[in-house]
Amino acid sequence: MSEYTDDIAEMIADLPVSYVIGVTTYTGTIGTVDKGNDLTEGGFLDDVDAVLIAKKSDHGTLPAIGSKLTLDSVVYRITRITTTPADNAEVRFALQDATQ
């Protein structure tokens, strides 16, 4: 295991959050959550963006872009997936509120 892999594991252990993709529960850590609520034609639309950091080893098969992820009872949509191919340590899920 690389030092970077250890760092990611320690970061997740320090600030763990549980999230669910499909029926599987994982543990990661949340980088940023940016919450807003926009008034648009028809009503109020949640505008929430977040970045979730997870262990790449937990995700042998990455979820599809556009699939849903539940975190703290909020359903998000995965809009981008960032990986670090060189060391295979980390995966970052860019999330958006699923109602957007």
Binding site: T40, E41, G42, G43, F44, G66, R77, Q100
Partner: protein
């Protein structure tokens, strides 16, 4: 408030009723100034402005746009297209002026000038519009 000052809202409400009253329509409809929490799929009935057609007649030229928005991850293109077809069938109906008039006792559509459609993509959503340019009066005839 004078009835003249709420023509846009009356038309939006009458258009929403067209969708709510259609048994085959299952997607929640909103008016432009609704303040509920919304998501997708949704359909919004919007009137942004009205212009009196011949000053002093009390008849107003109004543009009504009904927009269906569906998330592309949650629905297929063909499912979205099927809902677009249902929505447009309701508003491109030959009797739409009478149907809208019947949905509000203090509102009357005298005729339709033009009908247009549009569609597009916004972020991960598909949307489709039907727009009616119509002549309406904010009272019953």
């Amino acid at each position: 408030m004078s009835d003249y000052n709420t023509l846009e809202q009356k038309l939006e409400g009458a258009a929403k009723d067209v969708l709510d009253d259609a048994s085959a329509w299952t997607i929640t409809a909103y008016t432009g100034e609704d303040d509920e929490d919304i998501g997708t799929p949704r359909v919004v009935c919007m009137v942004e402005s009205a212009e009196e057609e011949q000053l002093g007649t009390g008849n107003w030229r109004v543009s009504l746009t009904v927009r269906l928005t569906s998330n592309a991850d949650d629905s297929t293109a063909s499912a979205h297209a099927a809902n677009v077809e249902k929505m447009r069938d309701l508003f491109l109906d030959d009797d739409i002026a009478a149907t809208l008039s019947g949905n509000d006792a203090e509102f009357h559509v005298l005729g339709i000038y033009s009908r247009t459609t549009a569609k597009g993509i916004e972020e991960r959503n598909r949307f489709a519009d039907v727009t009616l340019e119509l002549l309406a009066a904010p009272y019953n005839l």
